[in-house]
């Protein structure tokens, strides 16, 4: 047998159809899936659309054997099957590309692919054989990859290819792709879609989970919408539109475009001059960043994850040491100031990791709302907290920011992601900041909460606040920013006014290519 034959997916039972019927899954207090029907067949991309918590992931985890359904059946090629574990799913020809990659960073591509598979050499590993097969597979699907590279050396897009190869290597006939585009540049998304088309032509069935409507329209043949654990419906993609899908998904009319009215731009509120800093990995984090944000404008920072966005937010807020250069807030050099001293000068921060850095999970809503100002009157006098004022203050903020919570004494960790972000927003915005650093402010939020957060940022802009929006979601950058700075490997590639900017241009900048000519060379 030649290697080429070895690697072809036909080695496994081919999946013609998969049907999930009446799937119900209950978690304590939540009905995650309520009698959901779903089917997919060879040669198609079936998109699964829904907000966070709609039950998409639960449904797919059931199909992949990570959860057991409380009710309902699964049929493959018309035969009933039970899937108790991922190894059952793999044996049946089902593969899953998880949103958070399931890769071991300290191991090589070949080791990651070989993991858990029987080796041709018994208890010894056969990494050279695995490497050859990876190369053969990569050849068929146009996936460029070095089997001996360590995962940590690869870009996010390349890591995703490793995940796809892992599934194909195991003979997956059906591939579940869980929000695969969330972390990719526009060019990488195009490449992924090309690979997906190649796979469907080859007879694979693909399930594409997403909440990005234009991607669903572009790549899928059919689309199923879930809401609150229930299936709303399935339609051929060609018979639907973005706005119809959005309304279906949320259950009401949604404004897909935000109203970013012109605002008079004021003085420079925040400036960085040639800022350098390190990163947690010991490599340079920022390498000579210079930029300005003026009152009444939103400066968007676009870039692929891990290119210095975190470090940028941290040097401005004072959480990371600047090794060279200056941070200037309203004309004052604040490079040497402590985070609290910067806060006192009107800097607000919406951190990227809201559960870790945005709130204290085991504190109540009211306590979280006063984290910034608790040591000052009127919240406290001579070290004693003024409980009556704190309670009154949090009641006001809960109302003003429409935070859904049973009470102000509820522990913050018990709220939904959207409401936790509203706590952060309430705390950071109610103090009338001069400058706001918003890092990934809508990541992981549903459409409703996302809409709310974006409107709040635009409201701050209207009030003349300088806003720096750091986001890996290019659609968000384009919707909100007045100017767009692209960050790549700790440097600002370019700063463009947000007028007729081409996504291709941004994508190239995000990949580190400054001139379009370079791309062709």
């Amino acid at each position: 047998m030649s290697h080429k034959q070895d690697v072809l997916p036909s080695a496994r039972a081919h999946i013609e159809t998969v049907e999930m019927r009446g799937i119900t899954k209950r978690f304590p207090g939540v009905l995650a899936n309520d009698h959901v029907d779903f089917d997919v067949h060879a040669g198609e991309v079936h998109a699964l659309l829904g907000e966070n918590g709609a039950g998409k992931s639960t449904l797919m985890k059931i199909l992949y054997g990570l959860y057991q359904p409380d009710e309902g059946e699964i049929y493959i090629n018309g035969q009933p099957v039970t899937i108790h574990s991922p190894s059952d799913a793999i044996r049946l020809g089902i593969g899953m590309i998880h949103q958070h990659f399931m890769l071991v960073e300290t191991m090589t591509v070949a080791e990651n692919v070989a993991l858990g598979l029987p080796s041709s050499r018994g208890f010894l590993t056969d990494l050279d054989v695995v490497s050859q097969r990876i190369l053969a597979l990569a050849d068929i699907y146009g996936l460029k990859i070095d089997p001996n590279a360590y995962i940590w050396q690869l870009s996010v897009g390349q890591q995703q290819r490793v995940e796809i190869i892992k599934a194909l290597y195991r003979g997956a006939s059906l591939l579940i792709l869980d929000e695969p585009t969330a972390v990719l540049t526009p060019q990488e998304v195009d490449e992924l879609f090309a690979i997906m088309r190649q796979m469907t032509q080859d007879g694979h069935a693909l399930i594409f989970i997403s909440h990005k409507l234009h991607e669903v329209i572009e790549i899928s043949d059919r689309v199923t919408v879930l809401r609150d654990g229930r299936k709303i419906g399935t339609r051929p993609t060609s018979e639907t539109t973005k706005s119809a899908l959005a309304n279906w998904m949320v259950g009401r009319e949604v404004a897909l475009t935000l109203d970013r009215e012109p605002v008079e731009v004021g003085d420079v509120r925040l400036a960085l001059e040639n800022v350098h800093c390190g990163s947690d990995r010991g490599t340079p984090g920022l390498r000579g960043v210079s930029l300005e944000v003026r009152g009444g404008e939103i400066l968007g920072i676009a870039g692929v994850s891990g290119n210095g966005q975190r470090e940028l937010a941290e040097v401005i807020t004072g959480l990371r040491e600047v090794t060279e250069g200056k941070v200037i807030l309203e004309g004052e050099d604040i490079t040497a100031l402590l985070p609290g001293e910067r806060t006192d000068r009107g800097l607000s921060y919406i951190p990227e990791e809201r559960m870790k850095d945005g709130i204290i999970q085991d504190f109540t809503v009211a306590e979280n709302l006063i984290l910034r100002e608790h040591h000052k009157p009127p919240f406290s006098y001579r070290g004693f907290l003024n409980q009556r004022f704190i309670s009154q203050h949090s009641a006001e903020l809960i109302r003003a920011f429409r935070i859904k919570t049973p009470s102000q004494k509820t522990l913050a960790k018990n709220l939904s992601g959207g409401n936790i972000q509203k706590i952060v927003l309430a705390r950071e915005l109610a103090r009338h900041p001069r400058v706001i650093i918003a890092a990934q402010p809508t990541r992981g939020l549903d459409i409703g909460a996302t809409e709310y957060v974006r409107e709040q940022l635009l409201e701050q802009r209207r009030q003349g606040v300088a806003v720096m929006l750091i986001s890996e979601d290019l659609d968000e950058i384009l919707a909100l920013s007045d100017r767009i700075a692209v960050i790549y490997e700790g440097q600002i590639m370019d700063i463009l006014p947000n007028e007729n900017v081409s996504v291709e241009r941004l994508g190239l900048l995000m990949a580190g290519v400054r001139e379009p000519a370079e791309a062709q060379a």
């Binding site: 992931s57 985890k61 990570l66 574990s85 991922p86 190894s87 793999i90 899953m96 998880h98 958070h100 990659f101 399931m102 890769l103 071991v104 960073e105 300290t106 191991m107 080791e111 990651n112 070989a114 993991l115 858990g116 598979l117 029987p118 080796s119 208890f123 010894l124 590993t125 892992k166």
Partner: protein
């Protein structure tokens, strides 16, 4: 007196006893290396060693058969490992705390059994030195390297075996992946629980043998708390060795050589307080760990219980 320290007899003596003294550290630390590479921190090594030491001593003393004694240490170590695995894998216990619990259990239990079953300190005839033919006749080197008991050779043989298993086998691949990213291993159908049970039980067995190497190999007695911190040093050696068998070997040798050196200092009556001399290896451990701290990276999932959720 100082010049005496640099005589060839003394230097060879230090080398020979350093090589011998490294034995319990190697068994325990190699066992711990496997556990930590799979993401489990076992701080109960010391307790497992004490029970292993007692079991080996008691059974050898009663039966006169050292191999039965060794087997008893292996069984006791395996049972301790099984209990540790149940507590950390199934009950998701905080590993540092439960490890200390197992240490205290082993400390108290071994002493209780000793008081009840043996009573007074007794010596036994431990494993004899095994002179390897030809090699042990080499002048000087033969005495240093090839005239030790079987448990000493076993400890050194374990190092390349451990390296091979971790780096060249499918089992090693599973162990390493589970210590770094158990979710990834789980998603590929590998049983995180089964692999951790394996490494923890194997760690228990090796700790038991480490104890036996003291009570029926090197010292040939059992005394209350006879390990006196040795098991904790073994855990430190895993960090010292950057989770690699060869690094652990280097650490164990360095540590035991310094230990042998301070013993000889006392034997020769070098006029420094014995307390200071005894401190030497421990101070060295702290210094090396501090120096190494920034350069090595622990397995990402170390000491984190695994639960399937995302």
């Amino acid at each position: 007196m100082i010049t005496k320290l640099f005589s060839s007899t003394v230097i060879l003596g230090i080398l020979a006893s350093g090589i011998r003294l490294a034995t319990p550290y190697l068994y325990a630390a190699i066992g711990e290396t496997f556990g930590q590479r799979s993401g489990v921190l076992n701080l109960g090594v010391e307790g497992q060693m004490l029970l292993g030491a007692f079991a080996a001593f008691y059974v050898s003393w009663r039966t006169g058969n050292l191999w039965l004694g060794l087997l008893a240490a292996i069984i006791v170590g395996a049972v301790m490992g099984l209990a540790m695995a149940f507590v950390t894998v199934n009950l998701h216990a905080e590993q540092g705390i439960s490890g200390i619990g197992f240490y205290l259990f082993g400390l108290g239990m071994s002493d209780l059994l000793f008081q009840k079953l043996v009573g007074t300190v007794k010596t036994i005839q431990g494993f004899p030195a095994l002179h390897i033919p030809v090699l042990s006749d080499i002048p000087v080197l033969g005495e240093v390297f090839f005239s030790h008991n079987i448990l000493v050779y076993g400890a050194y043989a374990l190092v390349p075996i451990a390296w091979f298993v971790l780096n060249k086998t499918t089992l090693g691949l599973k162990i390493r992946s589970i210590g770094e990213n158990p979710q990834a291993a789980d998603s590929l159908g590998i049983s995180v629980a089964a692999v951790r049970y394996y490494t923890i039980i194997q760690g228990g067995i090796l700790s038991g043998i480490a104890g036996a190497s003291l009570s029926i190999g090197l010292l040939n007695v059992f005394q209350q708390n006879m390990t006196s911190g040795l098991g904790f040093i073994a855990v430190a050696l895993v960090y010292f060795g950057a989770w690699r068998p060869l690094g652990v070997l280097g650490g164990a040798l360095l540590f035991s050589m310094v230990n042998a050196f301070q013993l000889w200092l006392q034997v020769l009556g070098v006029p420094i307080p014995s307390d200071l001399a005894v401190m030497l290896p421990y101070v060295l451990t702290i210094l090396v760990l501090v120096a190494a701290a920034s350069k090595v990276r622990a397995p990402s999932a170390l000491a984190k219980p695994f639960e399937r959720e995302a």
